[in-house]
């Protein structure tokens, strides 16, 4: 059982900033995210795109914002359960909550903050009839541990950054990498496209375009995929492989959170925006894009504000009646849970003769 003060569901910008604000109040956080890395949409959908409305940053890449937020909250030593989706929540007699993920990991905290954005990212599965049968039997939509593919024959399909980047990476690990895409053109960073071109020329990556995987073949695990190729004349071929990795991006779904008894409106969780962003269930908060209230704007900067106020309310729940006054980091510095201390340099007082 993982125990913490504030259990944050969603490791996007709002959830990460909540770790920092909670840390200032000496509250510890643990984050759960369905994605294998922190950053939410910022790292999954548009890491290389600029954002222009983060206060104090005239321009910042979404991926850099994620890295900055991780750096900012680092001294408060957040725990992470990544690649797992929060599935159920149970209220305990002492008022705390136990949240269990789809992999069975249990987390307990007196306060739960849902910072789930548009929901947990589910892979977009290609429209192949029997594909669900082969899930975890050679069909994977995420690559969590590249070692699984060592000396295996891998077929990747997709035309974006992740298809390109994983083809490049796995070409050093797998015995055979075949990349299949519906077009000859790829939608990735230029250097990734060039690298794949180079590996293709060297015969390290096999490229089949324009083509599409239309079927998966195998008895109890993936043994081959059927590829339909459309160049010149239409033909179908079978490629023997151990793994088929379709990388067609992810789409967010509110998922199991929708069944937690929270008041939902327009795929978002209703909160009390006049006070603390608490939901209809005391002790459960919703912050960032996942919540809604009159006048709600789905902006990262609004999520930061909501996270800050949520932490104040969480402090009251965790330390009932305990006095607290707002402190400015410039004045009081930042004391990390890892023993580090950041503080403003002392003023130099020196007389002039």
């Amino acid at each position: 059982m993982i125990k913490t003060d504030i259990l944050i569901i969603g490791a996007g910008p709002t959830g990460l900033f909540a770790v920092f604000e909670a840390g200032l109040l000496k509250l510890k956080c643990h984050l759960i995210d369905a994605l294998p890395q922190a950053g939410g949409q910022c790292s999954e959908i548009y890491p290389k795109k600029p954002i222009y409305d983060i206060p104090g940053f005239p321009e910042i890449l979404a991926g850099d914002l994620t890295n900055n937020l991780l750096e900012q909250c680092k001294q408060f030593e957040p725990g992470f359960t990544l690649g797992e989706r929060a599935e159920t929540i149970e209220k305990q007699e002492d008022g705390s909550f136990i949240v269990t993920t789809n992999k069975g990991t249990k987390h307990q905290a007196p306060v739960v903050a849902i910072a789930g954005g548009l929901g947990s990212f589910e892979p977009r599965k290609p429209l192949i009839d029997n594909i669900t049968f082969f899930e975890d039997k050679g069909v994977e939509y995420f690559i969590k541990d590249p070692e699984v593919y060592r000396n295996k024959r891998v077929v990747i399909s997709g035309g974006g950054d992740s298809a390109l980047d994983w083809s490049i990476f796995l070409s050093n690990v797998a015995s055979e990498v075949t990349l299949i895409h519906r077009r000859n053109e790829f939608r990735g960073a230029l250097d990734s496209v060039e690298k794949v071109q180079e590996l293709k020329n060297k015969g390290i990556i096999k490229l089949i375009t324009p083509a599409e995987v239309v079927n998966v073949v195998g008895h109890d695990k993936v043994e081959a995929v059927v590829v339909s190729q459309a160049e010149h004349i239409h033909k179908e071929l079978e490629i023997e492989c151990d793994h088929f990795i379709p990388l067609f991006g992810l789409s967010p779904k509110l998922g199991p959170i929708a069944n937690w008894g929270l008041e939902i409106e327009k795929n978002a969780i209703k909160v009390n925006n006049a006070l603390d962003y608490q939901t209809n269930i005391p002790g459960i908060f919703a912050i960032g894009d996942v919540n809604t209230y009159p006048g709600k704007l789905k902006l990262i900067l609004c999520g930061f504000h909501e996270a800050t106020l949520m932490c104040q309310a969480a402090y009251q729940i965790i330390n009932p009646g305990k006095k607290y006054v707002l402190k400015y980091t410039t004045v009081s510095g930042v004391d990390g849970f890892d023993g580090t201390r950041k503080e403003a340099p002392k003023q130099v007082v020196k007389s002039i003769d």
């Binding site: 959908i45 997709g158 967010p252 509110l254 978002a268």
Partner: protein, 110 residues
């Protein structure tokens, strides 16, 4: 309101909506769909309009002249599902007076 145009949008349930869209607010077709809430929030315009998610895919039913498809839209559609000859991404279609009478159907959610 002379700067408004009329667009016909068939939602994912098959219901036709005739809506007025302003041409002076730098809106695109995806945003018009969202502003009239013709698809549930969170199922359209997920990437915000960067041609990076295809959740605003629609089929163009009228022969309205549309802006030519750019590389990123074409690339995104080549990864999307349920794509047809007349597929476009709504976020890549700015609302201009030329679009008067446009008819589109929203593609299924995927």
């Amino acid at each position: 309101m002379e700067q408004d145009i009329t667009i016909k949008i068939i939602d994912r349930e098959g219901v036709t909506h005739e809506v007025l869209a302003p041409t002076d607010m730098a809106m695109n077709l995806m945003e018009v769909v969202r502003s009239y809430e013709l698809a549930p929030e969170g199922t359209i315009g997920i990437c915000g309009g960067m041609a990076m998610c295809a959740s605003c895919q629609c089929y163009v039913l009228s022969d309205t002249k549309l802006p030519e498809m750019q590389d990123d839209e074409e690339a995104m559609l080549s990864e999307a599902f349920y794509v047809k000859e007349n597929s476009r991404l709504g976020c890549q279609i700015p609302i201009t007076p030329d679009l008067e009478g446009l008819e589109v159907e929203l593609a299924p959610e995927s």
